[in-house]
Symmetry: C2
């Protein structure tokens, strides 16, 4: 009897998610200088604030008991309203017929929303367009659900529109456009590249997707993952895709309170097109019938009494400092053949080596880095498989978010040494 | 364009989960006397205890920051060890080669474990044996995943072994035994009937399942849902199915800290057969890559410093009192044609009316009860669809767990009046 042939197709398709071994490596080897983990900055976590909010929440009898009780599947009604207000304020939108708390669902991190949306829209063989490179955990979801993750080339300001057009045309030509369900776009300080999608590009991309609906015979959605939006420490904000979807019909907006506030509470959310609110809620009902209520009440209180807003600048200053540290370290210690772009938000630098370089998990560079006590995310994990190009192996995701600040310079220095020795 | 034909097969199979409308009805109509919700007893929720634990957790710098940071997909290592110790102590087992923290996964409530296990074992068309009646949210999972939930008759001490034998034989005879993946058994104070499965019956049932493996060509698991085990207020405990699976090969043990401690923190767990630990973790990695770390640290602290153990008798006394209130009210107010068994744990009474009665969602009894401000769970929700019998519509699940204690008597009195008027 084969040890796996009793598993479901989903389980047999699923590989070990890279995030699991990366997180485990980081947690198991506290002495290592990890430039890999997508952890948040422990130094600016709002410990005192969460302590005070918890004390307040758990002080009064009835409210405290409500916070420790079950809630509804969609989430705490007050948090859903506050979340909608927050999203609308950020985008200069007014709540209205197409944008009500009924379209807001609170999830266990935004990751759960990505899973739910993919699960309710896609059967095996369906197509989701992804950025090339993209968030590697999302590629794991696609693998498990049998989704054909089809990459679209990235430029400095988001996906390349000419490649999007070419990809859509080729799906039409091959008769596969009917399998296209949505485009997954990490539009703010993207994981892994740190790039932000320009607003005009959002408009064009959304229009191009909609123009294929007739050929597809069904709606084509855009899933905007804005998980890093609030971790912006330089420059202006960009309006979301949601602002281009005022009828609330096509854009799924995913964001989280986990990264920009208290990571260990794991509260994310989605603002959904009306067509999707009900299927997503049905499936969330089966997954867990509602995210931990105490955590939701905590976030609602933080939003309501201004703690969330007051903490943001503290946190942003912390990340900016770390970004500056890493930027300086990269300039000082990286050999000339390594290139990167400065980032204005998020947690990551994306370092590119010459094309002949190999940074993948078993490569001499990766192993040497580990031997020198440094872990990074091999860039190839972030690229979908496609016959259209070989998978690039010459990139690295370097995190400045979760690395203790005193380790950033030393980690980059050691990595720079390893790369110099690689004699590329 | 049809409004749903772009959805996945899973989404198109999924109906609105009954738990969602029941919870919503309860939350939206606070004036109603709800005997429906599976809420826990708000009066004995450990408000002060959680407040103190949070204060302790968030006091010291490094530990507080770790609690507010991401953890690993499988869960906090200390909580996994404490959980294994707790399960072993409860069952008189010794941790060993087959029972290590590596087989423990911490989930967002035990509900998430039910979903994950079903997802990694079952393709559409696969078979799971369920009790008749069973936990209705589990039937929703089966519906969504396309699982053929095949009911086995219930007796006062668990599934009827003769019906289990008959069912297994008929699967063999029809050549469908290869589709059978596991049996889902709610073995302690079952939701909805309040019944506990006897130990000898567990032994027999497990042996019968294993005896079919050769014909099936793969392992057949038993998923033991012990969510109500710690809510035992009368009588002795029963050893788990896990004690009959000392090699750790076939029994998936699911339990939770949500019901017997702090509901709003939503922390459950599974102790898995080795064969399943990896696939479950892979899929959990895709769902959310780990349950909220703060909540896990809270439970670990409660287990470690004895708060959990000290709170159990308080909570049990509260539930016993409520059970007594409901029992007295049923005896006083129910017409003679209603029958029920006294329960020794859990949150529910299961009331049976004459077979000709109809208590289903749109029935005159249900509507009249609502008109009198009383909500119950229609029993038909708890029965799987099967050609083998018409779906019984003559039962009601009555919760004494979440109903404010002063409403239990009045709720039962009103319901008794409605039933008397039904002239059955």
């Amino acid at each position: 009897m084969n040890e796996t042939d009793f598993l479901s197709s989903l389980a047999r398709r699923s590989g070990d998610p890279a995030i699991s071994w990366l997180m485990k490596m980081t947690l198991d080897r506290p002495a290592m200088f990890s430039l890999a983990a997508g952890f948040t900055d422990s130094e600016t976590l709002p410990v005192a604030e969460v302590g005070e909010l918890m004390a307040e929440l758990l002080r009064s009898g009835a409210d405290a008991r409500a916070a420790l009780q079950y809630g509804s599947t969609a989430g705490d009604p007050e948090l859903r309203k506050l979340t909608l207000d927050y999203v609308c304020a950020q985008d200069g939108l007014a709540p209205g017929a197409a944008l009500t708390p009924d379209e807001v669902v609170i999830t266990s991190g935004s990751q759960q929303l990505l899973y739910l949306v993919s699960e309710v829209l896609c059967d095996p063989g369906d197509i989701v367009l992804v950025e090339d490179p993209t968030y590697f955990v999302y590629l794991g979801i696609c693998e498990a659900l049998g989704i054909d993750a089809t990459p679209v080339r990235m430029e400095n300001d988001g996906i390349a529109l000419d490649d999007l057009e070419r990809t859509l045309q080729s799906l039409k030509d091959s008769g596969r456009i009917g399998r296209l369900k949505f485009a997954y776009l990490v539009t703010y300080f993207q994981n892994p590249t740190g790039r932000t999608t320009g607003f005009e590009k959002k408009r064009e991309a959304l229009a191009m997707l909609r123009s294929c609906e007739k050929a597809a015979g069904h709606p084509i959605f855009a899933l905007e993952d804005a998980a890093y939006r609030d971790l912006r420490f330089d420059g202006p904000d960009t309006p979301s895709l949601k602002t281009l979807d005022t009828d609330g019909e096509r854009v799924i907006y995913a964001n989280t309170y986990t990264k920009p506030f208290a990571t260990g509470i794991k509260v994310g959310y989605g603002v959904l097109p009306r067509l999707l609110a009900r299927p997503v809620l049905r499936t969330k009902g089966n997954h867990d019938f509602g995210t931990a209520n105490l955590n939701q009440r905590l976030v609602a209180l933080a939003l309501k009494n201004g703690v969330y807003a007051r903490h943001l600048p503290v946190l942003r200053a912390g990340y900016r400092r770390r970004r500056d540290l890493m930027n300086a370290a990269l300039q000082q210690h990286m050999p000339k053949f390594v290139s990167w772009q400065e980032v204005r938000g998020g947690l990551y630098y994306w370092a590119e080596l010459p094309e002949r370089a190999d940074t993948s998990r078993g490569s001499p560079i990766f192993v040497n880095a580990l031997d020198h006590g440094v872990l990074y995310v091999p860039g190839d994990l972030c690229f979908a498989e496609t016959p259209a190009r070989p998978k690039p192996r010459n990139c690295m995701r370097l995190s400045f978010g979760g690395t203790p600040s005193h380790q950033i310079e030393e980690g980059v220095r050691r990595l720079g040494g390893v790369l110099k020795n690689a004699r590329l």
